[in-house]
């Protein structure tokens, strides 16, 4: 299991696998990226995703512009502008995998602006997820639990020595680290006592000694005068953590039914050996034979944000890009409102993304995108000119080009064949097809 992939006659390094890699690990690839990765081979292509050149100090022009946009969003107090900023990073940023992982952690530590009601705190938390996205999970967990947004979301302020509030303690065990079945109600009550005194003061974490219960607690059978930090450490050391992180990473990168119990156990064991390094686990899965196996291609439902950003990137709708404020409205209509997951469990994902309403909204989105209605200046996409720019001018060439670019296959699904002479409609119809909802 997790043997590194190397191309064979049965599993060649072909366009299908390049498209697969980018849809799963990023937000789809444009034509030049696909051709480049075909030439450079899997190792180089993989390295670019795993360790992108983002500028060591974050001082690149992209990062500087990103910061300006983000600061303005925070200053405006509009969560919609913060959503637009994040989508802008996904659309134009140098690290698609990093943004996918950031989105995974947003879902894992699902925190909603609807309760936090502070754009600055949501941004802070998002930066933390991004900073630790590939790091050691123990550090991510500790950092996330200290995030004011999360503490507000889970009523940490209400957790005082005289009457512990179990909300934060329960969610940090059930959702953030261990999963149901790996702790007792006593562990939760005792951890809640350890967490007393954790508060938010002027947008920053603050330990209020006077509210802290300094007495002895027994968590997971270990007794001591545990503080909140001790409780977090005990969580990170718990053997069940690696299993939950392995599950999250396989949920992100593998198709339906691909991750077997033994694969999850093996990845969990590896995580345990590698200090819960998220980057190690992501690289291990992405480089594996299992990742490039036929059973893993086209067997995962593409989430709304991946779908929307992927369509725009593949069609090179980046100069000028569509209005990311409008794209944020679109992802919400498709069922994924950034910074507003439905509850502490995050988005259900998988088949649950494909409700009628969401599919209708996906069809409306592909139409609007191609017709230019999401662009600030209503610039319609010109599919013929786009295909010609890449050297495809005859009808069969164009059909094959769009099938390859958008679906990773050389032929169009049969129900779309009648549209080959109506190129803009064809592109919208490909994007709305059942095949395009999967990757």
């Amino acid at each position: 299991m997790f043997t590194p992939y190397s191309p064979t006659a049965a599993r060649p390094w072909d366009l299908r696998r390049v498209v697969h890699l980018h849809k799963r690990a990023g937000f789809a690839a444009d034509w030049n990226m696909i051709q480049r990765d075909l030439r450079d081979g899997p190792d180089v292509a993989m390295e670019r995703l795993l360790a992108p050149q983002t500028g060591e100090t974050g001082g690149t022009p992209f990062e500087e512009l990103s910061r300006v946009i983000c600061d303005a969003a925070v200053e405006s107090g509009s969560i919609n502008r913060l959503k637009a900023w994040w989508l802008y990073r996904m659309l134009l940023g140098p690290d698609p995998l990093g943004e996918r992982l950031t989105l995974m952690w947003h879902n894992h530590f699902a925190t909603s602006f609807t309760k936090v009601e502070d754009v600055g705190l949501m941004r802070r938390q998002n930066d933390t997820f991004r900073r630790h996205a590939r790091g050691a999970f123990g550090e991510l967990l500790a950092a996330s639990l200290h995030e004011p947004a999360l503490l507000v979301w889970l009523d940490a302020e209400a957790n005082r020595q005289e009457h512990p509030n179990e909300n934060l303690a329960r969610e940090m065990m059930e959702l953030f680290s261990l999963g149901v079945g790996n702790y007792s109600e006593t562990d939760i009550r005792e951890a809640a006592r350890a967490l007393t005194g954790w508060t938010v003061n002027r947008g920053a974490f603050r330990l209020q000694d006077a509210m802290h219960d300094a007495g002895e607690k027994t968590i997971f059978g270990q007794t001591g005068a545990w503080t909140g930090d001790d409780a977090v450490r005990l969580l990170a050391e718990h053997p069940a953590v690696s299993g939950r992180i392995a599950f999250r990473i396989c949920e992100l990168l593998l198709g339906e039914g691909v991750a077997t119990e033994s694969m999850l156990a093996m990845l969990a064991a590896g995580l345990h050996e590698h200090d819960l390094s998220i980057g190690w686990a992501v690289a291990t899965v992405l480089r594996s034979e299992e990742f490039f196996a036929d059973a893993n291609i086209g067997t995962r439902v593409t989430g709304p944000v991946e779908f929307v950003i992927g369509a725009a990137r593949a069609l090179e709708l980046t100069a000028p890009p569509p209005s990311t404020l409008r794209l944020a409205e679109v992802t919400a209509r498709l069922g994924q409102d950034l910074f507003a997951p439905p509850n502490v469990f995050g988005w259900t994902g998988g088949r649950a993304w494909l409700t009628s309403r969401n599919l209708i909204s996906r069809a409306n989105f592909t139409h609007d995108l191609i017709e230019g209605k999401l662009h600030p200046r209503w610039t319609a996409f010109d599919a013929a000119a786009f295909a010609a720019a890449h050297g495809f001018t005859t009808a069969p060439e164009r059909a094959a080009f769009f099938a390859q670019l958008l679906l990773g296959r050389s032929d169009l699904p049969a129900p779309l064949l009648h549209l080959v002479d109506d190129l803009n409609r064809l592109v919208a119809a490909i994007l709305a097809s059942p095949e395009a909802q999967l990757a």
Binding site: D155, E157, A158, R160, E162, H163, N165, E166, N167, R170, E174, L175, V180, E185, G255, E256, G298, T299, R300, V301, A332, R333, G335, D337, P342, N343, V344, F345, W347, T348, R351, A352, W353, L354, T355, S356, R357, N358, L359, I360, S361, A363, N364, T366, H367, D368, E371, P413, A414, P415, L419, R425, A428, A429, A432, S433, P434, E435, Q437, L438
Partner: protein, 401 residues
């Protein structure tokens, strides 16, 4: 022959006769209803109170000495209560529900829970939604999904169930084959002019993801066609409060009034997880709930549709008996459910749980929620409760025969 019956059915479906069904002659009425999906056009509307409603401050055991003892800050003053008898009162913000009770349109089932209560939102909600206790089954099929799997397929492409909100349909509605749509309002199911929903190959019954996606795509297209009919044929004139839940129930009423063939609607009212400063929040939520339900029932009644609709309200658990130090309450156990509509035996059902005879500081249940489900399944949805609930449960006498 085939063409004639089809066009006749379309004539009936499209005509105003449908909305007037109860007043048209019996022979014609029967023909109209045969165009419905369900045999008798019965509809269940579920309202999920999300977060764990404080049942103690909803249906209040004001005469129980435990109430004053455990609820010092959160106690509702005696002179504000809507007393139903010398033991039990409704929260003052539930006045519209008290009126429904007087009017014979509301039943309250007290102390509803299940054995060995779980205090996790996720787990307890999954138990209520799936009627299963094995965590491995909590993400598979829900009780309504299983019931709808056993019901005939809705005509004209209507989905089996509609979640009227922005969220993902809950597991309660998930079945192996039945379809569920989530929508915030009717606009959400309309395909924009010029846009075309996916062209797809014929769907088969296979369980693989592509077959599923094709079926979902066909479902979506059928749903969109239905909604276009609905929007053109509906004029909503009833008075609803300006609240989120009222908006959602109004959407449900519009769909029902337009003879939308969906048998189950699901609405969620969030915010009941009142760990701190509960009083004002809880009162606002109950006011929203009661006002919305009252308006909805009145709307259906004035449209002559009241006989067809049953409303069921539930929450994943009640809250702890003892209030916490942040003027709130933590996760507890049993709580009240309510059923509303013309087909119910009105009034209070089951014993209200004692606030002094506690287990680990929590209320003891009076009745298992599956006994309430059993009544709804067998008497309203006309589905055998045994496979849905995975066991035999004595049904509560809540619904008229």
């Amino acid at each position: 022959m085939f063409a004639r019956s089809l066009s006749r059915r379309h004539f009936l479906r499209d005509s105003a006769l449908i909305a007037l069904a109860p007043s048209v002659p019996v022979f014609l009425g029967r023909t109209v209803r045969s165009a419905d999906i369900t045999a008798d056009g019965r509809i269940l509307v579920v309202i999920q109170l999300d977060g764990g409603n404080d049942g103690i401050n909803t249906v209040i055991p004001f005469a129980d000495p435990g109430y004053a003892q455990h609820r010092q800050e959160l106690r509702i003053a005696d002179d504000k209560l809507i007393k139903l008898n010398d033991q039990v009162a409704l929260h003052p913000d539930l006045k519209p529900l008290a009126e429904l009770l007087d009017d014979g349109r509301l039943a309250i089932v007290q102390g509803v829970g299940y054995p060995n209560p779980d205090r996790s939102h996720d787990v307890s909600m999954a138990i209520w939604q799936t009627a299963r206790f094995d965590a491995a089954e909590h993400k598979s099929y829900g009780w309504l999904g299983r019931a709808l799997d056993a019901a005939p397929a809705p005509a004209d492409g209507a989905p089996h169930s509609i979640l009227v909100t922005d969220r993902t349909p809950p597991v309660a509605l998930r079945g192996r084959r039945c379809s569920s749509v989530a929508m915030a309002n009717l606009n959400d199911l309309q395909i924009r002019p010029g846009a075309s929903l996916a062209a797809t190959e014929a769907a088969n019954d296979a369980d693989d993801l592509l077959a599923f996606t094709r079926r979902a795509t066909l479902d979506a297209r059928s749903a969109a066609d239905r909604i276009d009919d609905v929007v053109q044929s509906t004029a909503g004139a009833a008075e609803y409060p300006q609240t989120g839940l009222a908006d959602r129930l109004k959407t449900v009423a519009q769909l029902i009034k337009a003879n939308f063939a969906t048998p189950v609607y699901y609405a969620i009212q969030s915010g009941y997880d009142t760990h701190s400063t509960q009083l004002a929040t809880h009162g606002k939520l109950l006011r929203e709930l009661a006002g919305a339900v009252r308006a909805f029932l009145d709307d259906l009644q004035s449209s002559g549709l009241a006989d067809r609709v049953l409303v069921m309200g539930f929450s994943e658990f009640g809250r702890r008996v003892e209030e916490n130090a942040s003027l709130g309450t933590d996760h507890g156990t049993a709580g009240p459910m309510f059923l509303a509509g013309a087909g119910i035996h009105p009034g209070l059902h089951q014993a209200i749980p004692s606030m002094t005879d506690l287990v680990d500081g929590d209320l003891q249940m009076s009745v298992d929620f599956r006994s309430v489900y059993a009544a709804i399944l067998s008497q309203w949805l006309r589905v055998d409760p045994l496979p849905v609930l995975g066991g035999e449960f004595a049904k509560c006498e809540l619904l008229k025969a």
